[in-house]
Amino acid sequence: MNLNYSREELDFRDEVRSWLNDNLPKDLRTKVLEYQHLDKEELLRWHRILAQKGWVAPAWPVQWGGTGWNAVERYIWEEECALAGAPPTVPFGITMCAQVLLQFGSDAQKKRFLPRIYNGDDFWVQGYSEPGSGSDLASLKTRADRRGDRYIVNGQKIWTTLGHYGDWIFCLVRTDSQASRNQEGISFLLIDMKTPGITVRPLILLDEAHEVNEVFFDNVEVPVENLVYEENKGWTVAKYLLGHERLNTGRIGASKRELLKLRESAAQTLYRGRPLLEDARFRDRFTRVEVELTALEITNMRFVDEMRQTGRIGPEVSMLKIRGTEIQQAITELAMQVLGPRAQAFRPIDYDGFDLFEGSVAARYFNFRKTSIYAGSNEIQRNIFAKMALGL
């Protein structure tokens, strides 16, 4: 057993690190590090820089633009991007829709959509959850009725992340309401968001951020050629996607970056005349999070190694999402603690020189409560672990 990266892996890390150092635009990096929201153009600007370099879709097959990196190299890449403060690659196109098309799409669909996803021509979003179907996704009610060569879609999606930027949305819809089980009768549809009958309404979060939306479908016509895989087999597609690319749900790189920032700010903050970082009580809290993150990094690498060796990983990988989000949340909480009473500041009214970063720290703590709720709540992750890994 050897827990260290090999010489080749270290060389690879140095290569991507130095490329990021030279190519990550400073303004985007600053926005990420200062917790400012990135708009569509900013997200796409970074996407296109990566596309030009050929690194925007490392996990794709080489013939479609993948890098040919193995699981370890892909992991190193993700971690270096996060450590550098790069904007996230929006996952809905590259990681989700494209993976579905690669696995289940027709040749025509691959040719039509994959290059546009790669180049960032279309901004993709995800239409899964509905008001009555969150954790119980299979109970979804948005229907698509076949009329000749079109589907007529009616219903509502919710929590559509960045839906207000969306050019296209991939949706789970019900095509057979008579099916004996909820999981049957669902189909996977690609929908152009410019189609008449689609309304996007913002859902403002508790920190006043506009990230998620409701999307309403009122007699929206979708050509049948936008059906992916077979009609009524959409659940197979959804399950494939849920099991795919879960090696980065721990967000180790981003947490390492935030922990470093936290250490710095705690070292600069004085409490009773001494750096807060030297305060034993604060140090205990900080150290516990740091140790948990160190352990999770090794756990994550064990999963990555398993993937490289065997090509598959077990359902225990849910633990990366559970513990990873708990660590992210703990760090936002410690950052708030460092600010102390100043964490109460939110937005200026009549205030020259208001410190926007200060105003964003508690807001980020509030916002990050979403991480244990989204992408399969941590309760659902524990259900998966109990059922699939422990056989309970």
Binding site: Q337, G340, Q344, R347, D350, A362, S372
Partner: protein
């Protein structure tokens, strides 16, 4: 032993509950937050009519000589209704301090006006580098002919934009961290040399950072004894801290009730999600937290009142206050986080009151000392 409210306390509890119901519904609160004032002058005058602004004032100044325990029901309702009225800075800090330390002239000029709802106060003591330490004050006051000249920075003064008077601490001697040398002054917000930079807080209140550049106040504006204000500052902070604890208890009660209702009505997998044991147990733990928090808050309130009568030592009172705030800091974190988690995505949206309760609970944890600060203070007094 008797944990029931007296008839008078119950009447007050009922009347503020009614006030909250009629004037502080979720939609009404939204309008109040967006208003120019950032609080409701109408509700403020009703608080005065009900006698709640006068309850803890001395009877020779239009008050009722009440203590912290008498305000528990009021603070719980302020918490459950998420009121943003400047009650804590006015009644919990400013009036408390003036009643105990102010000259006869200052008391007569200000306290009856507080009782009648004509005088809002703000507490300009904290500084950005002080971080919960009441002694780490850098602002200075120099004696000049006929009064004092104050210079320095004050941080996160809650309620300052709506305040008619500010109570400002400054050093007349000593260095930051010294217990001696602190003095208190009463200032008009419009004083020459005083700049107020206003902001919204995370939980929807209005606050300001103050810059004082050689602000002149007359000798008559000195509150208490020159250079010996620390004990008075700590007394007022302890009083306000236990009131904040009671506010947190009320907010937790709302969060728990809202979460219970959600678990009963939200259905997934064909059943209410409250039928899942994994969630039931978590809600039970939230209820236990809130009850424990209420118990230790009641204890701290009674200790504050006992110390006010001279029945127990200041140290014993301070220990009880830190015990309560420590427990509250842990409880607001636990209950707030779980309330959001059990509401799922809905709890993350601005449309749900519970999201705002979570933010208020979190900020109550940051105010008047965090858990570590009170752990330290408790340990040092044991």
């Amino acid at each position: 032993m008797n944990f029931q409210y007296t008839e008078e306390q119950q009447l007050l509890a009922d009347s503020i509950a009614r006030l909250a119901q009629e004037h502080y519904g979720f939609e009404a609160r939204k309008r109040i937050l967006q208003s120019a004032e950032g609080y409701s002058p109408e509700v403020w005058s009703r608080l005065a009519e009900l006698g709640l602004l006068a309850l803890t004032l001395p009877s020779d100044q239009g008050g009722f000589d009440g203590g912290a325990l008498d305000l528990v029901a009021t603070m719980e309702t302020i918490g459950s209704a998420l009121m943003v009225e400047p009650f804590l800075p006015t009644v919990g800090l400013g009036a408390r301090l003036l009643a105990r330390e102010g000259s006869d002239a200052l008391r007569a000029a200000l306290l009856p006006a507080v009782a009648e709802g004509r005088m809002r106060l703000a507490w300009a003591h904290d500084e950005a580098a002080a971080r919960y330490d009441a002694t780490r004050i850098e602002a200075r006051a120099e004696a000049v002919s006929g009064g004092w000249q104050i210079s320095g920075q004050k941080s996160m003064v809650i309620g300052a934009p709506a305040a008619d008077r500010l109570i400002v601490s400054a050093r007349t001697a000593g260095a930051p961290g010294d217990p001696g040398g602190l003095s208190l002054f009463l200032l008009e917000p419009a004083s020459v040399g005083l700049t107020m930079k206003t902001l919204r807080t995370q939980d929807g209140q209005r606050a300001a950072d103050l810059s004082l550049d050689a602000v002149f106040v007359a000798d008559s504006s000195l509150v208490g004894t020159e250079g010996e204000a620390l004990a008075a500052i700590e007394e007022a902070l302890d009083f306000a801290t236990v009131l904040a604890c009671a506010e947190a208890v009320g907010a937790m009660k709302y969060a728990n009730a809202a979460t219970l209702e959600y678990l009963k009505t939200r259905r997934q997998f064909g059943v209410p999600i409250g039928s899942f044991q994994a969630l039931q147990h978590r809600l039970v733990d939230m209820y236990i937290r809130a009850e424990q928090a209420r118990s230790i808050t009641l204890l701290a309130c009674s200790r504050v009142d006992a110390a006010g009568r001279g029945a127990i030592s200041t140290a014993e009172k301070m220990r009880a206050v830190s015990a309560a705030k420590l427990n509250i800091c842990d409880a607001v974190r636990h209950v707030g986080q779980e309330a959001i988690q059990l509401h799922g995505g809905m709890g993350m949206t601005q449309e749900m009151k519970v999201a705002h309760t979570f933010k208020r609970l979190t900020m109550l944890g940051q105010q008047f000392g965090d858990a570590d600060h009170h752990l330290d203070r408790y340990a040092a007094l044991t």
